[in-house]
Symmetry: C2
Subunit: 351 residues, 2 copies
């Protein structure tokens, strides 16, 4: 069956080649690569989807969910790196010093004078590198998410934004986990403002959506729920994602044991959907990572393609205005069909 929801795409994503990650001091190959988005586009185009270009959005839309200091840093980081001459030593912006609470001991961190030291001011890991096209791509991913939100607000029952780089690990003032700006959060803020009532971000990526949680924590107008592999079992983002983080009822974390498959994961998705409905959500943003799939190199969950279809049906059955925003998913052979499976499930669920 042909996909009816519009698919928003930002061509500028491919300017962002992370060039690898630095993990425990070792440069490893990147998994968040441009081909991810191209695979998704190809699969959805093959399914008959209409591809809509992302429409440029003003910075004010980004500033609804991010600090101006973060946006300004990301906008200038690469050029500053080149100007300071670091490019000859390191071909991406990589931090080495961080405003760690055990360094600051309560002192508010300023912006370091050194370009190399600045690299850690807003970044919380060494895996989220910045190259020449990173900011433009991250900014275009926000454009895509907001374009999808606008399509839904204009009457589409659902829209999908093929956001790359992903966004759910980006907080109001910080970035990490291969994310720079929070696409799902920007879409949620726009839906909330337009719908005049609570909306819910339901994050089914294999990793906790810490950035989205943090941006809206304890804010009853944007509920945030996430099903993910348990950080207490040693998974990113390690410090957050525990069930006890409830935000006074506005946040819901459902950590799963490594190895969990369809049964546990689908039950959690159903739980999140029921929770959003019970809390009166008038619209939802699905933060769609497909890295919970069995075989994905970045997670130990074991969800099947049928699981994604079923999750889509559950979310679609809410019959709410729905923006689907791409998050993770790193198995290039599978990413296209998993995204398609989920979107098809959402459309089936509505009938």
């Amino acid at each position: 069956m042909a996909l009816t929801m519009p698919v928003v795409f930002a061509d500028r994503h491919d300017g962002h080649d992370p060039g690898g990650e630095v993990w425990i001091g070792v440069r490893t190959p990147a998994t968040e690569v441009p081909e991810r988005a191209e695979r998704i586009r190809a699969a959805l185009a093959a399914a008959g989807a209409t591809i809509v270009p992302a429409r440029p959005q003003p910075d004010a839309a980004v500033l609804a969910v991010h600090d101006r200091a973060l946006l300004a840093y990301l906008a200038s980081a690469w050029d500053d790196w080149v100007t300071a001459g670091y490019q000859e030593i390191q071909d991406r912006v990589v931090p080495y010093l961080f405003p760690h609470p055990d360094l600051l001991d309560g002192v508010a961190p300023g912006m370091p004078a050194s370009t190399a030291a600045r690299a850690g001011r807003h970044c919380y890991d060494t895996m989220t590198l910045i190259g020449p096209g990173t900011y433009a791509a991250a900014r275009a991913a926000i454009d895509a998410a907001l374009t999808a939100a606008d399509l839904v607000l204009a009457g589409a029952r659902a829209a999908y934004a093929c956001c790359r780089p992903p966004g759910h690990h980006a907080t109001r003032g910080g970035f990490g986990g291969s994310c720079y700006l929070n696409n799902a959060a920007s879409a949620a803020a726009r839906l909330r403002d337009a719908l005049g009532g609570p909306v819910a971000v339901l994050d089914v990526d294999a990793h906790h959506g810490n950035g989205t949680q943090s941006i809206f924590y304890a804010e009853a107008t944007v509920l945030t729920g996430s099903v993910h592999v348990d950080p207490g079992a040693g998974w990113f983002p390690h410090y957050l994602g525990f069930a006890g983080e409830t935000g006074g009822g506005a946040n819901r974390n459902l950590p799963l044991a490594p190895g969990s498959g369809d049964a546990e994961w689908m039950a959690a998705v159903a739980d999140l959907a029921g929770w959003a409905k019970a809390r009166g959500a008038r619209g939802i943003v699905v933060a769609l990572g497909v890295d919970a799939a069995e075989g994905d190199p970045e997670s130990p969950l074991r969800v099947s393609e049928r699981g994604y279809v079923a999750a889509g049906r559950t979310l679609g059955a809410l019959d709410l205005p729905t923006v689907v925003v791409q998050e993770g998913g790193y198995d290039l052979q599978a990413i296209g069909r998993l995204v398609h499976a989920t979107l098809a499930g959402i459309e089936e669920g509505r009938r």
Copy 2:
């Protein structure tokens, strides 16, 4: 003239080979190498100094200035790294994820379940690597500092501890900047407890003594003063070391412009000495980095050997019980004579 003050040495320093630093994602050669301490020992032995072995001290002495969690982490970090199998990927403990304030957004950080993620729990940079002998060496450096303090409390007018690794960047709960445990702070705590009144740590290392400042910030019983290259000009530790950090009068920072030489630096040392005296210090700990010397690879200050002699005289003229603790200094050709010059200056200043 022969050096009369005892020189405390801990042989176990040489088990700590940092094996390099990771700076902006690039492994660079270490400058905080075992040969530093051996050069100092040779120079002081040649000057007729009595070398005294560091005496083992109980953990309680460390816990006077550090959190138990930091000590426990450092004690087990290397073994945990090996047990988790990371040694085959990375031959030192290197962090990649940090409990950054922009990640946590106010959430208190727990200890991650993953050994790789734990590496950043207490460490604020990627330059301070942990190998098999690091903890034993850092612990022995504390022993050396406390042995020197005990010698002074037993009647020596001054004593020098050849501490390696250095310590002044280590805070109560965190480490970084090639430092793991704060030797000068431990000596200061012991002097304060025994002398029953204010003592002062005067830090003449080229870099701000942020750890020592932080441990005793706003604590009138241990005054902390530091002359160093201005972090506002782009120098480590980047976030701290500014003149405005006064601790309600208990802390004094004197940042110098890059390129500053004898005149500016000696005036600052005299300022710190006068400040400690005016505040009623009954004893001093000199945090002696000799990296402010012209030609040192780690700083842009340009102090001469005569400058170190003069600084020593100024500090010696205070005529207070004095523990000198080694901090930085990375020019292997110069480090021995610069330390000797300073200690000789202190002895001359007292006459």
